[in-house]
Symmetry: none
Subunit: 251 residues, 2 copies
DNA sequence: TAAATTTGTCTATTGTTCTAGACAACTAAA
DNA sequence: TTTAGTTGTCTAGAACAATAGACAAATTTA
């Protein structure tokens, strides 16, 4: 059934009325509060117009940066405040974003066992060329990808890492399955650069977008390195928060 | 030169943008403050659109009652608050409306010398059939007609009344030219009825409109009647205000 | 893999808005 | 009376908005 608020022949195009209304309802959280918009057909039915009219309205909001449409998946709310990703001694993906977003998830894009590159070997305190497990993961919040990480682990110590992550979708949980109950962030380096082709695809970015890159080393409670990772965050969706020195006790 | 505030392809029709803007500027007094709108061509040029587009905007405001268009004359601001026409011992047309409106004016529609009808003779304390001057006048405020009066004067005492009014466009000034320095309102009777054909034409009313009719007698400072008049006010443009008994001293 | 869901693209048609020009009708001023 | 200025009406076409249907492309689910 059609809504009452859409007026025809009013001098204001239907798509403009619908776009204005959707923007307002998104702002109020009345629609797309989970980050996902109803399908175009549902909106068309709700407003009593043709699907193409709704598409024109959506296109206007995409242009404004309010929405983002993904073929085959749906239309999502864009342009909300950046999520604050805290970097501290105990940096955990889902803990850090919990409360700020819904639909937190991480998935495994690829994994391999390879000889450690120099950087990785040095960070993990392994001999160059030692076997390491490389995990390519991607994380989502509010139904949109926010980060893409490439992590390396000592292949001997964390043998079933890829499988454990595939089951649990969590580094923390995978570590626990493999006998590592706790780990701490030893160091984090932050840089920024333009998104490359891989970022564009995996993070659904537009050409020219910026990614924040963190290079991090996690260590166990003994101080031995357990993970070296390079993470790319979509800079328009995430900001990194480094708490002051006093906020958290050192490990 | 075109205004900057009119956006094309915005989903809001040009005529709607122009109508909204004109309504606002009228309310602020920035346009049509004298009751008269610029010609359609001037508006079209100002907004950088075709004359027909301006006409659509005007038609919308006419529909709202904000404007009134008169073929051959122009477009005028309508629907403002009724002007308050005060009725007191010293009732003077232009004094009463001064400060409420601009463009006050009165013009002579017709005049004649005739034998006094019974009502008129009684009011003017003349013998029935005595010669009287009949003046048909019309008054404007804010560029629109507000009243239409038929007045009778003693033809002997006020011989050149029609000519004096024709020169001065004012009963008060005409009286003064003819030696009557001051006069007072003796009585006023108010009724209301539907506009007749003459009202429709002279006051530019729509069929079904209402006119307030006042029947008044003015007297000189001696108490002798000098004017008998029947005035028809456009009820949607004028309201009559009769001050309380204490507001003005009796003559 | 297959089916269902969802967004993207294309064609065609209809209705609305805007432009353009001409002329009629009316008013006011010269 | 004539002229200029103004609103009213008509026709025609271009640009934009909305509808309708079909199918492609991508993703998710069964």
């Amino acid at each position: 059934m059609a809504e009452t608020m859409i007026e025809r022949r009013s001098g204001v195009a239907l798509w403009r009325q619908i776009a204005d209304r959707m923007r307002r309802e998104i702002g109020e959280g009345a629609i797309g509060s989970d980050g996902r918009m109803p399908p175009e057909m549902a909106l068309a039915e709700r407003f009593g117009v043709n699907r193409h009219t709704v598409r024109t309205a959506i296109a206007a909001l995409v242009q404004e940066g309010v929405l983002r449409a993904e073929q085959g998946r749906g239309t999502f709310v864009e342009g909300r405040k950046r999520l604050a990703y805290p970097i501290r001694n105990r940096t955990r993906f889902s803990e850090g974003l919990a409360g700020q977003s819904r639909g937190l998830a991480a998935d495994l894009l690829a994994h391999a066992v390879e000889a450690a590159p120099i950087d990785v070997a040095r960070a993990l305190m392994l001999a160059p060329g030692s076997p390491v497990i490389r995990l390519e993961t991607r994380s989502h919040a509010d139904g949109r990808p926010v980060s893409r990480a490439r992590s390396w682990f000592d292949a001997q110590r964390f043998c079933g890492m890829a499988e454990a992550f595939g089951r649990t979708h969590s580094i923390t949980a995978a570590f626990r399955e493999l006998g590592l109950a706790d780990y701490l962030r030893q160091s984090t380096t932050v840089t920024a650069r333009h998104a490359d082709a891989g970022d564009l695809g995996d993070l659904k970015l537009s050409p020219g977008a910026i990614v924040l890159v963190t290079i991090a080393i996690n260590v166990d409670t003994e101080g031995s390195p357990v993970q070296y990772s390079e993470t790319r965050f979509a800079a328009d969706r995430i900001e990194l928060h480094i708490p002051g020195a006093g906020t958290e006790a050192a490990g």
